[in-house]
């Protein structure tokens, strides 16, 4: 256990992340609308010690009822469209929608037209666009923080 904690301490030191400034928080809910899972991997990586997005008060919450921002991945399959809309409608206002990755933005390699209801902005108002296949964890962190906090935290 102590070996692990020392190891993590070293990783954090090497990453040299700036401290968070000010009291802010953001609750995010993720909906996978047909992604290849790479965007999910990168979103999970934003919590890894090298990025630690949680230090800005950003947290993935279990229910859309608790969320400020909806992070949507994938080209939006026909079968996920209703669940995606239900998640969006369950969110309190004000609410933001982020299209995470090229598929959600409608510029990925996707599939048969009959199976797709997307891209995302055909269904929901998109506030944040995060391009990439998949976007790297640093890019996800930057995009969310820039869009959600008026002045980017130092």
């Amino acid at each position: 256990m102590f070996v692990l904690l020392r190891h993590l301490q070293r990783v954090r030191r090497e990453a040299g992340l700036p401290r968070r400034s000010g009291a802010r928080s953001l609750a995010a809910r993720h909906v996978d609308a047909g992604s290849c899972n790479a965007c999910e991997h990168e979103m999970t990586a934003t919590a890894a010690p090298q990025y630690d997005l949680q230090r800005f008060g950003l947290d993935i919450v279990a229910s859309p009822r608790h969320a400020d921002v909806l992070l949507v991945t994938g080209p939006v399959t026909v079968r996920m469209a209703a669940s995606l809309r239900a998640a969006y409608e369950a969110m309190p206002e004000p609410r933001l929608v982020a299209a995470l990755g090229d598929c959600a933005l409608g510029c990925g390699v996707v599939g048969a037209g009959a199976e797709l209801a997307g891209p995302l902005d055909a269904l929901l108002p998109v506030d944040i666009r995060i391009p990439g296949c998949p976007p790297a964890p640093g890019a996800i962190a930057d995009a969310i923080l820039t869009a959600c906090f008026p002045e980017p935290p130092r």
Binding site: L4, L5, C36, A45, R79, A112
Partner: protein, 479 residues
């Protein structure tokens, strides 16, 4: 490790009359074949139904023709064919006599409540979860039938992410079809792409030379490295062991950065091509990669020791989500889940189109109890081998390589490659260098029924842990 002389990823196909279908499949099993998938396609206006049996490095293909869409079912003989038959019913309208009830799998024509297996009895109730989950998880629906806290039966309903990738690939040139195999799944992109490339090359009569086999094997092991590190982190998260979760998440991130340094992409996308190598490494590049891998190997071993000798963590893993040896074989489990149950199968041991030599042997942990602890241990043991293999694969610079002519072209080819969650089986039927049919059956597809089986009798709150110990993809199952 030494590359074999023969590089033929073969498939011998034989037509069987529908009336003899069960007997032919039984004979293939009796002859030592391992069922590794079945799929439907169209030849002109006729529908065909193929069953695949792995025999060493070869894949035997049995083909039959339904009369009026009707065929005898083989699920009584081969329970592992259940999902394949349901999929063919949904997508190709085939009906399987003796497969009762033939519930929809890919098609979402029924609401989940009437779709699920009816369960009755005192104190039985249903818990519906998904398709949207609480964490950053892929979409899928789980229908648990529980008594109190204990799971009686689990019906996983996937295919919410069905993008019609196989259909979208049809009619395209073989070279273009690769994008669909690759984007089926981010975490198994290399395994699926290599299987597709090997199938295409074999179909058009090309043979990959030594350096191409080496490049692909390097990519496959890099993919296994980051996936296995990720899976150890996930199991730690599943028992609330934050220090282990974060330590392995940090190790995985280093592996991703190494992927980017080697291939230009964190998930190694775009590093596999049909007929050629898309990877070229200089002496200094392989030297730097070896250096980083040595440090990563050292830190991984240290972090793993801490998990191994943490009694409070181990106590949460033992005896949970057991998949026994016989059930693993019966349900056709593959990959780390099968090896953790003591089933010694690893497609790397029979992959002449790649760099693994005849000395390669599947890793089965001592005891092989088939529980969460065993599935975690398999990955830790395989990581040791992955580091050793990568050291050897990166021993020298990697020059460009092109596949050369060497065998007769064929219309239908099956290639099998060991990906992180198990064997990917890729079938490609081609005509004039265009895809007539692409079928991907990944390790996750093979293992989902085994995962559902292993959850029975466990406590409902342990499901996330059991799920993480299998760590199956939804994306490459749904396609």
């Amino acid at each position: 490790m030494s590359p074999d002389a023969s590089t033929r990823q073969g498939a011998a196909r034989r037509d069987v009359a529908a009336a003899d279908w069960r007997e032919a499949c039984a004979a293939a099993l009796a002859g030592g074949g391992r069922f590794c998938g079945a799929f439907a396609d169209r030849s002109g206006s006729r529908r065909r139904w193929h069953a695949l049996f792995a025999e060493g490095a070869d894949t035997r293909v049995l083909t039959t023709f339904p009369s009026g869409g009707e065929l005898p079912s083989i699920v009584g003989l081969i329970p592992a064919a259940e999902w394949d038959e349901r999929e063919a019913h949904d997508l190709y309208g085939l009906r399987f006599e003796g497969h009762e009830p033939l519930r929809p799998l890919v098609a979402h024509t029924l609401d989940t409540a009437s779709w699920t297996v009816p369960v009755e009895g005192e104190g039985v109730h249903e818990v519906a979860v998904g398709p949207v989950h609480a964490g950053v998880i892929e979409s899928g629906h789980f229908r648990f039938h529980v008594v109190g806290e204990r799971i009686l039966h689990l019906d996983p309903r996937l295919f919410y992410k069905h993008r019609g990738l196989e259909r979208a690939a049809e009619g395209r040139e073989l070279v273009e079809g690769l994008a669909f195999a690759q984007r089926a799944c981010g975490a198994c992109a290399v395994a699926n792409s290599v299987a597709y490339a090997l199938a295409c090359e074999s179909a058009i009569g090309l043979v990959p030379p030594r350096e191409l086999r080496r490049a692909r094997t390097l990519l496959l092991e890099l993919e296994r490295l980051y996936n296995h590190l990720n899976d150890v982190a996930a199991v730690c998260a599943g028992v609330g062991f934050a220090a282990g979760n974060m330590a392995f998440a940090a190790l995985k991130e280093r592996a991703m950065r190494l992927n980017e340094a080697i291939s230009g992409h964190r998930f190694l996308f775009g590093s596999v091509k049909v007929g050629a190598s898309a990877l070229e490494l200089s002496t200094s590049a392989v030297g730097r990669a070896r250096g980083e891998l040595r440090e990563l190997r050292h830190d991984t071993a240290r972090a793993w020791r801490e998990i191994q000798f943490s009694p409070s963590v181990q106590a949460r893993l033992e005896g949970v989500g057991v998949l026994g040896h016989d059930d693993a074989v019966r349900l056709g489990a593959v990959g780390p889940a099968a090896r953790a149950a003591g089933v010694k199968i690893d497609t790397r041991a029979a992959s002449p189109g790649l760099w693994y030599g005849s000395s390669f042997s599947a890793v089965v942990p001592p005891g092989a109890r088939g529980d969460v602890a065993a599935r975690l241990e398999v990955r830790a043991l395989e990581l040791i081998d992955v580091f050793a293999m990568l050291e050897e694969l990166l021993a020298g610079p990697l020059p460009p390589a092109i596949a050369g002519p060497g065998s007769a072209p064929r219309a239908l080819v099956v290639a099998r490659v060991e990906g992180p969650p198990g064997e990917t089986v890729c079938a490609v039927a081609q005509d004039m260098f265009r895809v007539e049919r692409l079928h991907l059956r990944t390790g996750s597809y093979a293992n989902w029924p085994a995962l559902a089986f292993a959850t029975a009798e466990n406590f409902l709150p342990d499901f996330p842990l059991i799920n993480k110990s299998f760590e199956l993809c939804y994306a490459c199952v749904d396609r």
